[in-house]
Amino acid sequence: MFRFRLEGSSGVPPYLQLVHQVRQALLLGYLREGDRLPTVKDVAADLVINPNTVVKAYRQLEHEGLTGGRPGQGTFITATSSPVPPEAHQDLRASLEAWLRAAGEAGLDDEAVTALIAVARQDLKQDLKKERV
Amino acid sequence: MTWVTWRQHRTQAMACLALLAALAVYAIIEGTSMRTAFSNDNLAGCLARSQGTGCPAAVSDFTGAFGSAVNIAFWSVCLIIPGLIGVLVGGSLVARELEYGTWRLAWSQTVPRTRWLGVKLALVTGGLIAVGAAMTAVITWYRAPMDRVVGHLYQNVYDYEGLVLTAYILCAFGFAVLAGLLIRRSIPAMIAAFIPWLAIRLVIEFVFRDHFMAPLTTTTGTCVQNSPQVHCGTGIGVVPPDTGHIGDLVLSMNGNLVTYQPASRFWPFQFIEAGIFVALTAAALGATIWLLHRRAAWTA
């Protein structure tokens, strides 16, 4: 049975944490097609969280096409892998490793790298918003 | 609510039963020996014929043997026992709930609080009436031979026969329930109820009781000390009293004018005095119910 966990101080809303954990488990192969996710009640009792949160997460996963529900039987994984094809994954992985090596040589430590990524992501989001408006 | 009331007062009920049992044991022991002495001395016939004038020695033997038991045991201790029973049962009835916060539990069930209180008061009052009646019955039975010799209009007998014992218990109970609601703490409520109860009790007994109805007067022979025919003395325990009837309560003697209450007034007096205390009980309990209904905020 797949067990979720909750990070209280991460700043990420609980339901998103659950969604991320399923996505990540799928990527890493810990969840496969046909696996049954625990019931809403089990997750709510296990993590001691509001069952509505679990419902919301499960609904989000269904919306993303990762899971499907069979009435009376539970929620099941319907997708095997992420929407990103494996070759794109490998290419991105390779360019990322090259960038990390360059950053390390330039003198950035782990914290600086993380901060730089966060700022760049934020700026990109704002730019994208502006593009949409 | 019946079960709830019973369960919450179960210990008190058991204690009352134990008290009654102890009283009954004492009564049986003393009462039996009293009856034996009474029939041995052949007092029944003598009293009927001559109101005791014909057997003064037997009478004084009898009263000497058993009189002191009546006076000491009953008078000093038992005066307060009805009051104690009443305040111990009533003081915690409402106060305990407020003291421990259980009112939040008791009054949020599907029973409005006035109904909760009404049922409780009705049942506990009924129980106290039963206790009072039982105590009265036991004491009356035990006292029967002595009552035939000296009557029962005098204070430390009158207090335990008839109706007043039950009425005393109820009044103390009523005061304590009301005090409990106002003060919200059990022990202080018991004390705050006991003091006025005792005060009223003593005032009625010593100031008003002798005059519930206008006393009668009669003339008698000149009072001479140690005379077998005419005695000087108030109260009872004097056989035969100067009025000529057993059980008359002599209030005062002025020369040869005797002021007294006749023995036949025992029951009217009992009704008057019991009526006073029952009215006080009703007022206290009525006030409690009314106040509970009115005050909808509790920050105990």
Partner: protein, 319 residues
């Protein structure tokens, strides 16, 4: 129980509810709504009016003004009809310490026509609490569970818990809330939980009510309220007037200020400045900010009533 199970009749609706104690108003001008099936938290410091509000909902206290409706029916204090609709666990879960657990359930049976003895027995079984043990010999956590069972076995659709975990140790606390969450998942019950401990509230509640100084400061669905607030990092010199929405809390440093603002998503879009940073606010930060600011003398009206909720943005505050 799902978000859709927010039925059309709200579990709770108050209309300008108020209660005065002598000259002091314990609660004033309280207008709010909690939908059926929600787990609502009432937050505020001690003395904020939480217990006053809860007692009026339960029927233990009569309002001085306004009214409270439970599942569409106006509550009248101290009537069997109103008392029977709400299950209640008071602060410190009072029980008769001399009673056994079985005695407490007997009391429940005697005083509640809707009592479900099977539920009570099943819960004691599941929690391994012996029913013949006296209450005073149970642990604090077990006593809390018995209190909760008393409220549940009453089979009322609305359950009010007043600081249910304040007096419990951390393990008992977790076990208690675990139970509440499992029950919430199983049954179509509405929970109203008051707390002055803010940490971890985010896990439990999907509806939030913030009380301070006898007035409602904020009320509504938790995720919508979170979405309606942002934590802006702006240059120190930026005046409040330039900021979107309403400033809730502002902290000034030498060169920058951190400002918690309340505004609709559309208002944020138009304010993008390069030197500004916008971050989502955490549940705890949100609550603390509202509790720390000077309490508003007028209550914040609940955003869109249940019937209109899907899709409509939060209603603007009228002051």
């Amino acid at each position: 129980m799902t978000q859709d199970a927010y039925g059309s009749v709200p579990a709770l609706r108050t209309d300008r509810l108020g209660r005065r104690y002598g000259k002091v108003w314990g609660l004033r001008d309280c207008t709010l709504e909690v939908p059926a099936g929600a787990v609502a938290a009432v937050v505020g410091p001690n003395g904020a009016g939480k217990t006053t509000l809860l007692e009026m909902i339960i029927g233990l206290l009569e309002p001085t003004e306004g009214r409270v409706d439970v599942f569409g029916q106006t509550s009248r204090a101290d009537t069997a009809r109103s008392l029977g609709r709400v299950g209640y666990v008071a602060q410190d879960h009072p029980l008769y310490r001399d009673f056994t657990v079985a005695d407490m359930f007997h009391l429940g049976r005697a005083m509640n026509p809707s009592w479900d003895q099977n539920l009570a027995d099943a819960r004691m079984d599941a929690l391994s609490i012996p029913v013949n043990r006296k209450i005073r010999r149970l642990s604090g956590g077990q006593q809390a569970q018995v209190s909760l069972t008393m409220a549940l076995a009453k089979r009322a659709p609305l359950l009010v818990l007043d600081e249910p975990v304040s007096s419990l140790d951390p393990v008992a606390r977790l076990d208690f809330m675990r139970d509440v969450m499992a029950i919430a998942a199983d049954q179509a019950l509405t929970f109203l939980i008051s707390s002055h401990v803010v940490a971890e509230l985010e896990r439990y509640c999907d509806w939030l009510i913030i009380l301070s100084a006898g007035h409602v400061q904020l009320a509504g669905p938790a995720d919508e309220l979170l979405a309606a607030h942002q934590l802006l990092t702006v240059p120190r010199a930026t005046p409040d007037a330039d900021l979107p929405g309403t400033v809730i809390q502002r902290t000034d440093s030498d060169r920058h200020s951190t400002v918690l603002v309340r505004a609709g998503a559309d208002q944020f879009a138009g304010y993008g400045r390069p030197s500004w940073q916008a971050d989502p606010v955490s549940f705890e930060q949100l609550i603390m900010a509202y509790l720390q600011r000077r309490p508003s003398p007028r209550s914040y009206d609940n955003p869109a009533p249940a019937a209109e909720r899907p899709g409509t943005p939060a209603k603007e505050v009228t002051r």
